[in-house]
Symmetry: D2
């Protein structure tokens, strides 16, 4: 039959991508759907492209209903909402894969500082497992609460982890370019077509973006993070620069990355700069490291799909690991081209 899975937040972009991935996952049956907006409406009202699909109706977020019908629930909810339902779900025996930000930071004070209010259930922060497979594959086995990484921290970590682990970096510059779907489906000037098409900008600079502490927690060094919005729907590119603490050749660096990611099926070390189109619709990250000998700087570029490896795809990956399923079961690893 398959693991009974629910998706909370199916009206959002990460939610509908989860739906696409879990709908074709060989070990899964989708048994519950909920949405804030749109509860009580047909799925086809929220997403006309799904007209005709045989799926459960879309209800409100209801712990009882989820506990009755699901073994695992994927939460794709706004900041602050998942912490209100996770304790009850866990208690009722339901495992949780949380795509939101509520359980990523382990330090309650860091959480409060970044999100502007104390966590309502701080003991969850130490219980959650950070769902970056390339960092935590082993500890994800059996995890009951997975905190899926943010999209920017994922792209930055994949690019910077080998440098940092090797002691080559004491400060990481990460400039990231994100598609507009990262801003969510709620209308505002930042995601209005005529305001973002044919324009780029930056935001959340100088440590102001909430993903900065998450990156620094994952990497253990300070990060100068500069996020940019570019006129595309999906995709994220991170260009990481590090002033090398000791000289390294391009060859050495490439070998370092090849070894580091050799047994990680969702990371491809490339011989040239990747583009986000190479990973569109996938749970993969493509990464390319190179050295500027003269300026003693390493530059590493990683490309992900912000809704794939940066959200739903990585969530399914972590779910597979938490359940002991084959690591790539149901995982999309080849792109939609062009």
């Amino acid at each position: 039959m398959g693991i009974r899975v629910g998706i909370a937040g199916v009206s959002g972009y990460a939610g509908v991508e989860l739906l696409r991935l879990l709908h074709r996952h060989p070990a899964v049956r989708i048994t519950a759907l909920s949405a804030g907006r749109g509860a009580g409406r047909a799925l086809s009202d929220l997403w006309p492209g799904w007209t005709g699909a045989a799926l459960p109706p879309v209800g409100r977020l209801d712990v009882d209903h989820l506990a009755e019908h699901c073994d695992v629930v994927f939460l794709a909810l706004p900041h602050g909402v998942s912490q209100t339902v996770v304790p009850a779900l866990l208690e009722r025996g339901v495992d949780v894969v949380d795509l939101g930000a509520d359980h990523r930071l382990t330090d309650p004070e860091a959480y409060a500082a970044a999100y502007g209010a104390p966590h309502t259930c701080p003991e969850l922060l130490s219980l959650a497992t950070y769902g970056l497979p390339e960092q935590n594959r082993d500890v994800l086995a059996g995890a009951r609460l997975v905190a899926c990484p943010g999209c920017y921290p994922t792209a930055t970590a994949i690019a910077a982890l080998p440098l940092v682990e090797e002691g080559l970096a004491d400060l990481v510059f990460s400039d990231c370019l994100s598609g507009i779907s990262g801003a969510g489906r709620k209308a505002g000037p930042r995601n209005l077509y005529a305001e973002v098409q044919e324009s780029v900008t930056a935001y959340g600079l100088a440590g102001a973006h909430r993903h900065t502490p998450e990156m620094e927690q994952a990497l253990g060094v300070p990060v100068v993070f500069s996020p940019h919005l570019v006129p595309m729907v999906r995709g994220m590119l991170a260009t990481v620069k590090v002033r090398l603490r000791r000289p390294v050749s391009g060859e050495e660096l490439r070998d370092l990355y090849r070894e580091r990611y050799a047994r990680h099926p969702a990371v491809v070390v490339r011989d040239e700069v990747p583009a986000t189109r190479d990973v569109r619709g996938t749970a993969a990250a493509h990464v390319f490291p190179l050295v500027d000998i003269r300026r003693e700087v390493a530059t590493v570029v990683s490309a992900i799909d912000n809704l794939g490896k940066g959200a739903a795809g990585q969530a399914v990956h972590a779910f597979n690991l938490s359940r002991g399923l084959p690591e790539t079961a149901g995982l999309p690893l080849v792109p939609l081209l062009p």
Copy 2:
């Protein structure tokens, strides 16, 4: 195990979409790949997003090689090329699914008029089966040479067939909007980014487009076809208008479409105008008919993915029917959103 399948023309947009679909098709094994440009290069040189996939090397178009390794070959080749290899493939026992235009028109003179040169093997024209499942499902069973419809004829036929079959139309106006991937991967002013972004235009008006005779053959009535290029990569919308030969209510028209497509899994009759995003990456067509009582006109909108239902997706659909496989085996029917 599985049917051994080759793809000729994998460097193009329809070719790489075939690769994506056949790679995950449960009844298929990909055993040969060829490309004009790029023969002898690794697949990852042509499509870096496919780096690391376990697939055969990319060779030149070679009938002997294909005959040795394949039961079926999908041809995604420029106009005029497939007619040079199809006879030998069929003779060697290899079935052919041709995505190109070479075998769509049944009349050799119509072919010569549209494509500017006589067909080199005109007897194939009567042998080929036009691969529109909604028109030819039964005759596709066992077909050895499938001529897949063009993207514009597909979108137009899905919208207009019920009207025409019912005798309601003696002239069809079809205005179609196409994504730029339809222009192919060869660089030219029509597909240069800075020339097409933030601009729309029309072309091939007044019967000049080669898809016009194909539409008229499929529908059996004259078609005034106006194709437009719009700044998006994938997707096609057809807006068909018909001056009704007798009064019809909106209800009647909707029922007509519902019945006509009731048992066709790749067509969804909608209650509102579809958008091409609803079918992105799929082999489905969404269609919505409505009546303007006062002006005695029916307007029908259909949406397809020009590379899906308009090319590779429909090719896989026709392949399934030709082989007696489950009709929707390996067929993508839910979209990539957003």
Copy 3:
């Protein structure tokens, strides 16, 4: 010196385009600005690109203020608002160029049917002059209230007028493609980036769009109007099809258009299909007529900038005529390329 001009609605897309055009108009001084949203804020808050410009502050819509400071006021307001201020402005001696829909239809009943409520000042409907220079150049001289045409009616009329005036058409099919800026700056699913990028759709079909009666009033024949939204910010293309009431050659049709528009500086009759990029940022329309002899159909394509010839540019054009200024004073007629 110069004519003292106010702009009401400067926070919207048509408003800011008016600002750009009037700011460099040689016969004009901008003396008042108002905005619904954003009243009391600096212009640079509404439009950061205007930071540093020496312009009046942005206030609320205030008839007294406008009457004191302006000879002419351009209104770029939502439906229904301008009829509440026009009577007082005219009475106070201020001329009005209205870019909105309130005074386009001459028949109060047609107005009420299209806009869902009776006009509050129906006597204005007969007083207003429809601001299509190619139709009403002479009557615009001295006009105190100009009702600027809608974007779709402008594009359709430029393409269809010669055919209709020549008695060649008894039914006009107009399929139009519009950039998203036409939907305005208020956020909603129709103008959210991730909902409209890489997708096209149609809407307001079968006579449901409010511009249909306006087109039929301007042309005097029934119009089957099919508007489409395409993923670009600015630009509009109309593809008009007409079943010819008598045979016409392509040559004849081209001559007809050349003569009709010979002395109209904002219309260029082209020898090939125009693209909207050809008129980006301009007050011009490019038009191309051709005949399908076999199907006895004429197809005419016109391209405008929906915010230029379709709104602010044409408003300035009509203003010039109403004031007896040189017809092309301050009128942008060459495009921003690429």
Copy 4:
């Protein structure tokens, strides 16, 4: 009347933008046009949007013709071409504003290293004046050969100059995002619509881009330059990061920028991050500096139009200065919105 001006390279993107700006420049008359592709064709064949404009015919690049008809020639030519005509033009008394790269580097060896071949006329390198008005306003007066800065060096210099001049930086990280028009009008995979839409990538990393030595020459410190291509036609954003050599407050930094650019009409110091839309079609740069106290880093964002301030607009600006015209004569400083 007016200075007689020629444009060489009018078939390219910078060339046609020059045409737009010089066509409306009050002190200029356009007296010669040339194009590599398209010589002998009408301007309207190259740019249909210019159909009907009264301009000289488009000829080949011909020094005699230019010398006879022009006081000044603007060169918008591929690398290596302008050095073949500049000596003769200067000798014949024609001043030159060169938008290309041939005369930007002052050191012949640096030129040869960056462009792969020795300069054919190295004495020009010391004769040319680097046309960055914010650095060289005074020395531009009377300049006979202006070497207009590259787009990336312009964006980077505007952002970094105050920091560097103040001794705050010993290494500059510059991540730039460029619209695709920067890749020129020659077709290739880098500017094909379906290859760049919905995708971003980086290129020319680790010092490989030819603009790196130009930046380092302008700033006098090493630069780690990371250029990115984003799916838009026009626009460029530079995000410059500098590890501060001594602590600086945000207030101090803002004041530093305000003072530095107080009397430079083409630079606007903003209170928030600019977007490229704010400067679309203009010769202006918008810049925003801020400090990350905790990480001791300054981040400065500048936005330009790569074809405006980054090419044709800045060329006209430098031309004005070289001729003693009012600095902003004919200079577009307000954007096309939206």
